[in-house]
């Protein structure tokens, strides 16, 4: 019987092709939006998000405007529950929302290796540690900017020697470039000797992040610059607040895509079925049950959706894995990554849409008034 469905679809191949393409485009967008959403969720809920804190200058947002004494690290390190402190100088080419943001994090190379979930895919740590202007570059940035090991990469007043390319299981990391803290502090225009943008605080396993954050801010109140300490996830979410709104809006775009697929496939299936009411009457006269007739139509619509949906999802995942897309603002970035979840989600949504969009025509076909339909010319 599946042969009958496939041959029916093939008979109107232009219509089938157009419908499948439409569904594919819509599912492409749907998955893309889904990946942005996933990136955002990872930032604020990821493992990393709640087990480390970011100490930032009070009431400052852009990394260029936050200037904390580097030696705050000593005071922070004494607070109960703190496992380690990593002073970080941040530099970004663009403080506003941008699709091609480049973010440098300057920190102690040894601490980077210890505390960041990075694996070098090119180059080695020794080289990074030994050269003052050495940098390791996240895979996404490398893809986007066409950077490879040994290159001299310059942007603004910064010029670094690429000692390696790294991967990370935290996708946002892959949008960063790491350099030596000293190097970045002495970059022309930053004038940050002895100052850093932020301190990242790694917590001990059982420490309550909110308590430690409060204690840090209290302890530093007496110092020259007041601080605000937040969980890393919350910090990133707040620096990206404008984008979060935008992404919330993109969510609606995802729903619109679902609606689009639904109406597209439903229209095609209704047309196909209404053209062939007599055929369904013949099938039922031969002895095909109404329920089976229903299934035939549902199979038709599901095939349309599934082929289109899988193609669209596949293309979206391919584009995401090759493109290294990311959006960022104020030094935080959201990575758009392909994921297995996204694949499953795309396929399941296509499947569901296929069934739902075929429902009305399927019921029509199942309940065809046999004699009346047979008497049609």
């Amino acid at each position: 019987m599946i042969k009958y469905v496939i041959k029916t679809l093939w008979r109107h191949r232009t219509r089938t092709f157009l419908t499948v393409s439409g569904a594919a485009v819509a599912m492409f967008v749907f998955c893309f939006v889904g990946s942005v959403q996933e990136g955002l969720n990872r930032l604020s809920n990821g493992e990393d998000a709640n087990r480390s804190l970011i100490v930032f200058q009070e009431n400052r947002f852009c990394p260029t405007s936050s200037r904390l004494p580097q030696d705050y690290a000593n005071q922070i390190g004494k607070i109960d529950g703190v496992a380690e402190v990593m002073p970080i100088q941040v530099w970004t080419n663009n403080c506003r929302a941008s699709l091609d943001i480049v973010v440098f994090n300057g920190a102690d190379p040894e601490k980077i290796q210890q505390n960041r979930p990075l694996q070098l895919v090119e180059g080695n740590w020794q080289e990074f540690e030994s050269r003052r202007d050495a940098a390791i570059v996240g895979k996404n940035v490398a893809t986007r900017r066409g950077i490879s090991r040994g290159d001299q990469f310059s942007i603004g007043n910064i010029s670094v020697n690429v000692a390696g390319i790294f991967e990370s299981n935290v996708p946002a990391e892959e949008n960063l470039i790491y350099t030596n803290l000293n190097f970045l502090q002495y970059t022309q225009g930053l004038d940050s000797a002895g100052l850093v943008t932020q301190h990242e605080v790694m917590l001990q396993n059982n420490a309550d992040p909110d308590r430690v954050a409060r204690e840090i801010d209290q302890a530093l109140r007496a110092g020259p610059v007041a601080t605000t300490t937040r969980r890393k996830g919350a910090f990133q979410a707040s620096t990206l607040a404008d984008l979060v709104d935008l992404i919330g809006f993109a969510h609606w775009l995802g729903f619109a895509c679902v609606g689009l697929v639904l109406t597209l496939v439903a229209t095609t299936t209704v047309m196909s079925v209404e053209d062939r009411m007599k055929e369904y009457a013949v099938l039922q006269t031969i002895g095909i049950r109404p329920l089976r007739t229903l299934r035939l139509v549902l199979t038709e619509s599901t095939l349309l959706c599934l082929v289109g949906g899988v193609a669209g999802t596949g293309l979206a995942l391919l584009a995401l894995s090759l493109g290294g897309f990311a959006i960022g603002a104020e030094g935080s970035t959201i990575a758009f990554r392909p994921s297995f979840d996204l694949l499953v989600y795309g396929v399941v949504v296509s499947l569901g849409l296929g069934v739902v969009s075929g429902l009305v025509p399927a019921i029509q076909a199942a309940r065809v008034p046999i004699v009346k339909a047979l008497n049609q010319p």
Binding site: K3, R11, Q284, I286, G287, L291, L374
Partner: protein, 233 residues
């Protein structure tokens, strides 16, 4: 007990404020193995009768049983199952599925039966052989002549080995020569495969091939004497 039994069957249609009752308390018995032809003026309810027997239309009153099964009692789904196993329907315009080949069209009813693929294949090949279309297995309906299409329609109607085959003007849209081929075919199916046939026709010559001839006139069946010489058209 007859293979097909109609008791007190009534069927009327309402169109606007007009009610037509083509079948008004009719009784009919058809024995297994009979070849019955049914003639009658247009609009007397011949097609309606076939539709009621095959359960694609519902009686208003009365009962119909085929092979002991109360067709008038079954639900729509059960009726479909019953038709798949027990009833073949030959349409005036073959009504083949255009996207399927000859072979696939004939195979369709066998997909509804519990058969092994070898048994299925054998059935389809036998049916195609019976209608002489083995060499057209892979043709699509659009590649066949009207007579060939009708023969595929007949093969489809008999492939499941039904108890009864009903045919509504099976030669109605064919030329004389093709019509004669179909007549011979129907006669062979009845005599060689022992298929019980009920055929509606407007053509007295076609009706003459049947072993029993009925006339439906003003809601009543009239038996025609088989020996009565037929008017030549």
């Amino acid at each position: 007990m007859a293979l097909v039994e109609l008791r007190n069957v009534c069927k009327s249609f309402t169109k606007g404020d007009q009610t037509i009752t083509p079948l008004d308390h009719v009784d009919l018995d058809i024995e297994a193995g009979e070849f019955v032809s049914l003639m009658g003026p247009s609009g007397t309810g011949k097609s309606t009768l076939l539709n009621l027997i095959s359960g694609i239309d519902r009686v208003d009153e009365g009962s119909i049983s085929v092979g002991g099964v109360g067709v008038t009692e079954l639900s729509r789904g059960k009726l479909a199952d019953w038709r798949a196993r027990n009833l073949g329907y030959i349409f005036q315009t073959h009504n083949l599925i255009p996207v399927l080949t000859t072979y696939e069209n004939v195979e369709l009813p066998t997909l509804l039966l519990r058969l092994s693929s070898a048994q299925r294949r054998q059935r389809v090949e036998l049916a195609l052989e019976a209608v002489g279309l083995t060499d057209r297995s892979n043709h699509y309906p659009s590649q066949l002549s009207g007579g060939q299409e009708q023969r595929v329609g007949i093969a489809r109607a008999i492939v499941a080995h039904p108890q009864v085959v009903v045919a509504d003007e099976p030669t109605g849209s064919l030329d004389t020569k093709t019509s004669e081929q179909i007549q011979v075919l129907l006669q062979r199916l009845n005599q060689e495969l022992d298929i019980t046939l009920l055929m509606v026709t407007h053509d007295a010559e076609v009706a003459a091939i049947a072993s029993r001839r009925l006339l439906l006139d003003e809601g009543k069946f009239v038996e025609q004497n088989v020996d009565t010489p037929l008017k030549k058209s």
